[in-house]
């Protein structure tokens, strides 16, 4: 019970960011809970999605926020929360989080081709991509590609995600992966599928990267 109360406590934005950066598990969970509550209370005015997709958008947005803190794109200096170009944060962390969620929602809508029947609509949407990524990536540093890849991974097919997770995260051999994914009848079939996943991921990432650089 004591543990529950601890997690339910809210902290200042500075405390959250500092805690997340030093990988304090209590603060990680506290910020997660804090963002979740804020998201639950405010998403209705922003997104038009069902409960299960709402969770999907929340999950992706929180991971992005977390990675931004890890990479010090949001950081604390002299007790002040700072962001792009070292400028102090003018709003709350939760407001910023909802900003990320809005971008994720746009991606979610685009992935499902809602409202993109007309060609000009699609062009318009593509033009927006550049703005979205520029805003989300903050700067044009050398890690831009890594962040784009992270984003593309979150939108990969379930099958590709499984293969790459088992191979690169769990570091399993192709033989072991075949045991977990019995639909692959041969090692070569699995290897080819993995390569296709990588190739598609690379194409998507490069497309976004070039669009982003040209913005």
């Amino acid at each position: 019970m004591a543990e529950t109360r601890l997690y339910a406590k809210t902290y200042s934005d500075v405390a959250y960011v500092e805690g997340m950066y030093r990988r304090d598990p209590v603060m990680e969970r506290a910020l997660h809970k804090h963002c979740k509550q804020y998201f639950d209370e405010n998403f209705r005015g922003v997104f038009f999605v069902g409960d299960e997709h709402k969770m999907e958008i929340f999950q992706e947005s929180f991971i992005t926020l977390w990675e931004k803190i890890e990479k010090q794109k949001i950081y604390v200096e002299d007790g002040i929360l700072k962001g792009k170009d070292g400028a102090p944060f003018t709003g709350k962390l939760t407001t910023y989080f909802m900003g990320i969620a809005k971008f994720k929602f746009k991606e979610w809508v685009r992935d499902r081709h809602f409202g993109l029947d007309a060609e000009d609509e699609e062009k318009k949407q593509k033009a927006k991509d550049a703005e979205i990524y520029k805003e989300m990536l903050y700067d044009e540093g050398e890690n831009a590609m890594l962040e784009i890849i992270s984003d593309c991974i979150s939108r990969m097919s379930e099958r590709c995600s499984q293969i790459l997770t088992l191979f690169y995260y769990k570091e399993k051999s192709l033989d072991d992966i075949m045991l977990e994914l019995p639909t692959f009848k041969s090692k070569n079939a699995l290897k080819t599928e993995k390569y296709k996943c990588m190739e598609n991921l690379r194409k998507s990432a490069l497309e976004i990267y070039h669009r982003y650089l040209n913005a």
Binding site: Y7, M55, I63, I149, R155, L164, Y168, M198, L201
Partner: protein
């Protein structure tokens, strides 16, 4: 991106190369731009996959945060490695909910909210059913129609409905509906625009009233789906019956 490079890159990044092969590969990397680019890309994929999965694993540990909030009956959501195809799982079992930590304050709030909800739903249910009888028996608009437009049959329909003679009520409603179609046609040919608009408004009111009665008749003869469909149309039509239809629709549809 070359498939033949990928095996070597993977072996290198995952530490599956002998020292000798490693050195040879590093030499190759220095001399081949394409290989180096593919290596950088694979390294980014590995880093991103690791970062993402570590976070997902932690968020999975915090799933209790979701289940506590989802015990109002909404299916809880379970994290998956990819954003697509989100999987839903069933609400926690009674045994699980018993062991879930929950403050006494929140439990108290749930009780109060529950009781309040029962009163509110009860109020609207009673009001709706009381209102239904009042509408049928003492609806002033029906008296107006009988004298103003020469109809006079709505009172008969109301009486048939109150007497639970739904089949006859239905027949009478269909006769009246046919009359309305005729009236609409006649009104459309009126040259005076203001007059036409006024007549159309009156006819629409009559049509809505008939539809409202038809809902009861349909329910009475067991055509629930037709009644729901009609209610759905009525609740999307501006007019006297919009709100009533909406309330009844929500009650019946549940």
């Amino acid at each position: 991106m070359k498939i033949e490079f990928q095996d070597h890159i993977d072996d290198y990044l995952l530490g599956r190369m002998s020292d000798e092969d490693r050195k040879a590969f590093e030499q190759e990397l220095k001399n081949d731009d394409e290989l180096r680019e593919q290596m950088k890309f694979t390294k980014d994929v590995k880093t991103a996959t690791k970062s993402r999965n570590e976070k997902l694993a932690k968020m999975q540990e915090w799933k209790d945060d979701y289940e506590w909030e989802d015990d109002r009956g909404v299916a809880a959501a379970r994290y998956r490695p990819t954003g697509s195809g989100y999987e839903s799982c069933t609400a926690p079992s009674i045994e699980q909910t018993r062991t879930m930590p929950r403050s006494s304050g929140r439990q108290y709030l749930y009780w109060i909210s529950g009781i309040a909800a029962i009163f509110i739903v009860g109020f609207f249910l009673i009001r709706n059913y009381m209102g239904r009888e009042e509408d049928m028996m003492f609806n002033p608009s029906s008296i107006e129609y009988s004298t103003m437009r020469g109809g006079g049959n709505y009172e008969i329909i109301e009486k048939l409905l109150v007497d639970k003679n739904y089949e006859d009520a239905m027949k009478q409603i269909e006769i009246e509906e046919a009359k309305i179609v005729e009236q609409r046609t006649a009104t459309d040919s009126t040259s005076d625009g203001e007059r036409r608009a006024y007549d159309q408004m009156l006819i629409q009111e009559k049509a809505d009233e008939l539809s409202w009665m038809k809902v009861y008749a349909l329910l009475g003869i067991g055509r629930r789906d037709d009644a729901i469909q009609l209610l759905d149309e009525l609740r999307h039509t501006e007019g006297e019956y919009k709100e009533k239809a909406d309330s009844l629709y929500l009650i019946i549809y549940k």
